[in-house]
């Protein structure tokens, strides 16, 4: 099959944040023998299958997509990287994002989500067409220049994500303990957002970290952040992750040193002071490589009934 990723609904400034979400999926499709266009500036007619990243805040664009589907038989699927509970609840339930998503779900050929929210997406209108894409190991995403030598891990801790107050409180605590914490955030010094980082540069920083910190933007996170965790794992770095609430099913957190929020700074300090950080990071990668596969994940996602139809027509 031929897949085309297109992003007409995303503002230009958002495009740079896409690699962590789009590239693993594209890699998995390629590993399954499909042809992937990682960027098209327009929707393609059949037999090409268009993939759009969920974030439809523009009513007119949503209308266009629905019209293209109805009048021209355009095939499309949605790739959801965010918690749709947030999307639909945003701005007191008045967000157009949630409303437009609910309009698109019933007509999309398929919906892939990297977060475990299949039931919610089905209930919102995509009955029978949703698959969970579990991010897994891909040789294509592996940093070819891993850093197994502890002496070359020049960063104590790296915060991968925007510097929200909830996250920066941990950074402050680490710094109070004389643990240097490098933040990939535009408000930090130097002002470098993870969003602006090409994957090879982000990978370079992550691979040279003793620990990477994975925190939710704020309290009450429902899901782990598989895109961040996968990126860190492919760079052979141990991630100190905020443990999910009781009852939530961890997936990639199994490969991290997850602890409750209050224990993050202690956990980082323990790992750094142990001197075992490089070994732990490489071991996490080895386990991740052994137990997961992006190829298999995408093969599973391609078992949705829609693909039998799309491939056959």
């Amino acid at each position: 099959m031929i897949f085309s990723f297109t992003y007409p609904n995303l503002p230009l400034g958002e495009l740079r944040a896409l690699p962590d979400l789009v590239l693993p999926v594209a890699d998995g499709l390629i590993e399954n023998g499909h042809h992937v266009m990682r960027f098209s500036s327009a929707l393609w007619p059949a037999p090409v299958i268009n993939v759009l990243v969920e974030q439809f805040t523009d009513d007119a664009l949503t209308e266009e997509l629905l019209k293209a589907r109805a009048e021209h038989g355009i095939r499309f699927g949605l790739l959801c990287g965010d918690d749709i509970g947030d999307a639909t609840a945003a701005e007191g339930g008045t967000s157009r994002r949630g409303a437009n998503l609910r309009r698109l779900l019933p007509v999309a050929d398929f919906v892939w989500t990297v977060l475990p929210q299949v039931a919610a997406l089905e209930a919102a209108g995509a009955q029978g067409s949703v698959a969970l894409v579990r991010l897994g190991f891909s040789p294509r995403a592996l940093n070819p220049d891993l850093v197994p030598e502890p002496g070359l891990r020049g960063f104590d801790a790296v915060l991968y994500g925007d510097g929200t107050p909830y996250r920066l409180a941990v950074v402050d605590e680490l710094r109070r303990r004389n643990i240097a914490c490098f933040c990939l955030d535009q408000a930090s010094s130097p002002p470098l957002s993870w969003r602006a980082m090409p994957p090879q540069l982000a990978g370079d920083i992550l691979s040279r970290a003793k620990v990477v910190i994975d925190l939710a933007e704020g309290p009450g996170r429902r899901f782990e952040a598989p895109t961040r965790l996968s990126r860190a794992l492919h760079n052979g770095v141990v991630t100190v992750s905020e443990q999910l609430a009781a009852g939530a099913a961890p997936d990639l957190q199994r490969y991290t040193a997850a602890v409750p929020y209050a224990g993050i700074a202690d956990q980082c300090q323990r790992i750094i002071e142990s001197g075992m950080f490089a070994e732990l990071g490489m071991a996490a990668l080895a386990k991740f490589r052994q137990e997961t596969s992006m190829r298999d994940s995408m093969a599973a996602a391609l078992r949705l009934p829609a693909f039998a139809r799309l491939a056959g027509s």
């Binding site: 230009l12 495009l15 740079r16 896409l18 690699p19 789009v22 590239l23 390629i30 042809h35 992937v36 266009m37 990682r38 960027f39 500036s41 294509r140 070819p144 220049d145 070359l152 020049g154 490098f182 535009q186 130097p190 002002p191 470098l192 957002s193 602006a196 980082m197 090409p198 994957p199 090879q200 540069l201 370079d204 920083i205 040279r208």
Partner: protein
């Protein structure tokens, strides 16, 4: 040796486009058995070798480097990577302190790698013996891993690499007027994974200078296209030693670029041209060998003699 590419003198919006410049060099260093820090955020003393990509518009930062050099001497190895023509006033004068700061650093740099051969400038600066022209060559690690060999899958007609200034816009418009697509990369907006994908799928990659005053071709643009097995149509104007890169492209005068692109797009020979350009480039050049050559500058002999570290 460990090469530390310090990039913090560049604004974060530029990082996206630096990969085409630094990645081939990083690969060449790794192929020569060295380690590379692709995104250094600190300057280091020896045995680390610092490589700073020229764009010094912050006087205080330059003062800091000079202080470090003064304090540590040979124990602070300072290399400069120059990708622009320092005698191109249009580029250098955008920031009035850019050239003066470069000149201050050239006086103390242990080595200078320049993509563009401007020997008179480096002689005038008194650093010719510390300067080497870095010729880009083929690197297996830089090769696009999803090369497209089926003509039907080259769905993009033309990609114009760079920003759509007036001089370039005329060519893009001429191609569009004839009914073909021409995508302009606008590296400040589109992340590399998108533009790389377009180049990979293009029938033709257009390599043009910014305007008639420019003296040198762009090795990074041409080499990007070649590593994607995409036919490169180059504006022919450069007569310097790096004009050897035209051997792997279809080169022509400015006035003929649009027509030449359209011929290739319509001929259905684009994939063959791209693949033959790549094969010739692969056979005749090597990034590993190029880096090997620029590592023969005196400072590296000194570093090698001291076991990778500078004089203690």
């Amino acid at each position: 040796m460990i090469f530390n590419f310090y990039l913090l003198n560049h604004h974060e919006t530029s990082l996206n486009s630096l990969g085409d410049l630094t990645e081939p060099i990083c690969h060449g260093l790794i192929e020569n058995g060295h380690r590379v820090i692709r995104f250094g955020t600190e300057l280091h003393t020896a045995p680390m070798v610092n490589v700073l990509l020229e764009f010094f518009i912050d006087d205080a930062f330059v003062d800091h480097i000079l202080r470090m050099k003064g304090e540590y001497g040979d124990r602070f190895v300072l290399g400069l990577l120059c990708s622009e023509d320092p005698e191109d006033r249009i580029v250098m004068d955008i920031f009035p302190n850019r050239l003066p700061n470069l000149e201050r650093l050239l006086a103390v740099a242990d080595f200078v790698w320049t993509l563009l051969p401007v020997p008179s400038f480096y002689e005038r600066m008194g650093c010719a013996d510390r300067t080497a022209v870095l010729h880009y060559g083929f690197s297996p690690a830089y090769l696009d891993r999803d090369l497209i060999t089926e003509p039907a899958r080259r769905d993009i007609d033309a990609v114009l690499y760079g920003n759509e200034h007036g001089y370039r816009a005329k060519v893009a418009e001429a191609i569009r007027r004839r009914g073909h697509g021409c995508f302009v990369t606008r590296r400040e907006y589109y992340p590399a994974f998108m533009t790389d994908d377009l180049i990979r799928r293009a029938k033709v990659l257009i390599d043009m200078r910014r305007g008639p005053g420019v003296r040198f071709l762009s090795p990074t643009r041409i080499v990007k296209g070649l590593h994607s097995a995409t036919a490169v149509v180059s504006e022919r104007f450069d007569t310097s030693e790096i004009a050897t890169l035209y051997r792997y492209t279809t080169s022509c005068d400015y006035a003929d670029i649009a027509e030449r692109c359209i011929e290739i797009i319509r001929s259905r020979q684009a994939v063959g041209l791209g693949l033959s350009g790549l094969e010739r480039f692969r056979a005749e050049t090597s990034m590993k060998a190029s880096i090997g050559r620029v590592l023969r500058l005196p400072v590296f002999e000194r570093l090698a003699a001291t076991g990778g570290g500078a004089a203690a």
